[in-house]
């Protein structure tokens, strides 16, 4: 099937192109990028008033399969991702069982085969993510693992983390750190600060995150490994990462849309719906995250999409699990908060969800040019959406953005040359 995208504004961060171009897609590839392409047998897609960007990449999602298929599945999550403009996602390994052997990596890939988008499994650093013995990294890579992480918990043992950074150099993949000193954060519910004192909720000091990032950066220096820091939430974390980059330590990092959109003020209003780990911080941190995205210290925006069933979240905030869904609100928040409120160009905003994660992970996607795989997302940035029960198609609706009006509607998602959203 041929597709011809017409009248759209091509925004390709990899080539820094931001100009009106038509795009012709044939046999799953981009066959032509040019002005006023004429093709009589292609299906036409009118992208007037829209930006046409490479298919979005989310390097941090939780699809809960295997183990909690009642919450979300690989296919179900993939559909939500397609609706949200994503053509590639990386699933985190903290499932039940933890993805720590080759068979499990293959299982995830197998499950994803009949889904609409590309799924890249991240495998565990340690067996069972217990933080002690290394998982069989070579086997996991052969099975198709894209990176390693014990996400959900830190590798508390510094020697184990050292070995992981060292051993994984063979495969040239990043170790993704969930940076949290649990001896400092344990039992905490929200950011430690005025709001936690006021609400009488146990705080999680930002230092729990920053200490671990500092340790991991130093271990990366020691081992010459590759470190990617997941879900950065605090200003201090960015200071440490910026310092590491100046010293040419191989470190990259991601933040999530909620960290540039909300502060811990949201807890009083949204209770457990605003409970995630790391927690929402202060306005100073939120501003620093936006600056970090602007100056490039933060390369990636990942959602940390974490579905939880209503009855799990509808509890006393202390008992409810951490995490919010993030896929469906990602594009609207990027456009509303970064582009419209903070003056980001589309190029600067969308490199964080296209070429940058692909470069970190070694995925040959995330750009638009002739010959490339046809992963393309078409977004109307001026269309208003309301985050409500109808807008959220995910069966889990755990989001603090419920009721918010935002800009940015995903009109089409094309993956490997096929329209995967709107659903056929």
């Amino acid at each position: 099937m041929k597709l011809l995208i017409q009248h759209g504004r091509l925004v390709d961060p990899a080539s820094k192109t931001d100009e009106e171009f038509d795009i012709l897609i044939e046999d799953g590839k981009i066959s032509k990028v040019d002005k006023n392409i004429k093709n009589i047998d292609a299906r036409l897609i009118n992208a007037k008033d829209c930006i046409v960007v490479p298919g979005l990449v989310d390097m941090h999602v939780h699809f809960r399969e295997p183990g909690r298929e009642d919450v979300e599945t690989i296919i179900g999550g993939s559909k939500v991702a397609a609706k949200s403009g994503y053509t590639s996602v990386c699933t985190m390994p903290n499932t039940n069982p933890v993805i720590d052997n080759q068979a499990l990596v293959r299982y995830i890939k197998k499950q994803a085969e009949s889904g609409p988008i590309n799924v890249y499994p991240v495998a565990a650093i340690t067996k069972g993510s217990m933080g002690e013995e290394l998982a069989e990294m070579g086997e996991l890579i052969e099975g198709g693992a894209i990176a390693f992480s014990d996400d959900g918990k830190p590798v508390m043992n510094s020697t184990t983390m050292r070995r992981a950074l060292e051993y994984s150099r063979m495969f040239n993949v990043p170790i993704i750190t969930h940076a949290e000193d649990i001896t400092l954060s344990g039992g905490g519910i929200m950011n430690e600060g005025n709001n936690s004192i006021f609400l009488g909720l146990k705080g999680i000091p930002r230092e729990a995150e920053e200490i671990m990032i500092a340790r991991d950066v130093l271990l990366t220096r020691l081992t010459k490994g590759r470190l990617h820091v997941a879900h950065v939430s605090s200003k201090g974390s960015l200071d440490i990462i910026a310092m590491a980059k100046r010293s040419n330590i191989q470190v990259t990092c991601e933040t999530a849309p909620h960290y540039f959109s909300l502060t811990d003020d949201a807890i009083a209003d949204h209770l457990s719906m605003a409970k995630m780990n790391p927690p929402l911080r202060t306005e100073e941190d939120r501003k620093a995250i936006i600056e970090g995205l602007r100056n490039g210290v933060i390369e990636v925006i990942a959602t940390d999409h974490a579905p939880h069933l209503p009855n799990e979240k509808m509890q006393e905030i202390a008992f409810a699990p951490f995490g919010i869904i993030g896929l469906e609100t990602a594009v609207p928040l990027i456009i509303t908060i970064l582009v419209k409120e903070n003056g980001f160009s589309f190029l600067d905003a969308f490199e964080k969800v296209t070429i940058n994660p692909c470069r970190i992970l070694g995925i040959d996607r995330g750009y638009i040019k002739e010959g490339a795989v046809a992963d393309i997302t078409i977004i109307n940035p001026d269309k208003k959406i309301t985050v409500d029960e109808k807008f959220i198609i995910s069966r889990c609706k755990n989001t603090p953005f419920m009721g918010r009006e935002l800009f940015g509607l995903v009109e089409y998602t094309i993956c490997n040359g096929t329209i995967v959203y709107p659903f056929s």
């Binding site: 600060g193 936690s196 004192i197 006021f198 609400l199 009488g200 009855n311 905030i317 202390a318």
Partner: protein, 315 residues
């Protein structure tokens, strides 16, 4: 002005100063009933009050129970140990059950901060917070304010010291808010581990040396210190804590001669407060307990739509 224009009483922050004064003023009339031989009035006849206690409590539960009974309400008493909650029923489900019983008031004590706020958003009944985690204990704060007003008339300009484990105290948070709102100067006294700097946002002063501020205080509100804080390394030993922060007989001698001593109870004699200090003429600890019933009667009355009282109406 009519009664409280609100469904719930969750914290001091959400009350207006007028509402605080209305509650305290109304409490006065209910307290007057306590000297009569028949102490009940039919104000809540036909209404159902449910006490839902997820945490052990003696004085607060009994105080609410007595307040409801003196107003002639029907009472359901649910303590967590004897209910289906131990079988793992969620708060939401428990509450829907109570709603099916048509409880008009739910008085809730819970170890998790904000649990009553969560409850109040999901139920039509009036929710009264009887203490949530470290967050708030508004009825205690109201009875503390009332007790001080009763003793000295006006709280405005008083210098009130709150001493001890401020960090883990819902009483401290609610007291700070109500005392500040009513124009008092509030100082917090304790070690930095239990009095984090963030408390300065309330507009209070912080002292690590009790003896330094002692002679300036008009009121000293002592908080209960829990032994398990020692395990959390908040202080090294009860012995050292007592030496630095207990209200001892010796310290009392260095206070203003008409200093008022308060304690929300239950007291640890010999730990945060010495025996003879607790029983001295300065102490209003027992009066606080009596006033608690009157204040809670006033809260029930006003939440049920009662209008401001004058002497005659209670007669």
């Amino acid at each position: 002005m009519s009664g409280l224009q609100r469904k719930d009483l969750l914290d001091i922050q959400s009350l207006t100063t007028e509402e605080i004064l209305l509650i305290c003023n109304s409490a006065k009339y209910f307290k007057a009933l306590f000297t009569r031989s028949i102490k009940t009035v039919p104000i809540l006849r036909g209404k159902t009050v449910c006490l839902l206690f997820y945490e052990p409590s003696t004085r607060t539960r009994i105080s609410f129970e007595l307040a409801a009974k003196r107003l002639s309400a029907d009472l359901i008493n649910i303590a967590v140990q004897t209910s289906s909650v131990v079988k793992g029923e969620s708060l939401i489900d428990t509450v829907h059950t109570l709603e099916a019983y048509k409880a008009d008031f739910i008085v809730m004590r819970h170890a998790a901060s904000l649990a009553p706020h969560f409850l109040s958003r999901n139920i039509k009944s009036s929710v009264i917070n009887a203490g949530d985690g470290n967050h708030a204990h508004p009825t205690q704060a109201l009875l503390d304010a009332y007790s001080l007003m009763e003793k000295v008339g006006d709280i405005q300009g008083l210098h009130i010291g709150i001493v001890g484990d401020i960090l883990h105290s819902r009483v401290a948070r609610s007291d700070i808010e109500i005392f500040k709102r009513l124009g008092a100067k509030v100082s917090l006294i304790g070690p930095p581990t239990l009095v984090p700097d963030e408390f300065r946002m309330y507009g209070v002063d912080i002292y690590y040396e009790f003896d330094e501020i002692l002679p300036n205080l008009d009121v000293i509100n002592m908080l209960r210190i829990q032994r398990e804080r020692q395990q959390g390394s908040f202080f090294p030993s009860i012995r050292e804590y007592h030496k630095r922060f207990a209200l001892t007989n010796d310290r009392l001698k260095r206070c203003k001669k008409d200093v008022i001593v308060m304690h929300p109870g239950p007291i640890n004699r010999g730990i945060e407060i010495d025996d003879d200090v607790a029983d001295s003429a300065h102490s209003i600890i027992n009066e606080q307990v009596t006033n608690g019933v009157a204040v809670r009667m006033a809260i029930f009355y006003l939440l049920a739509g009662g209008t401001p009282l004058d002497e005659k109406e209670v007669e």
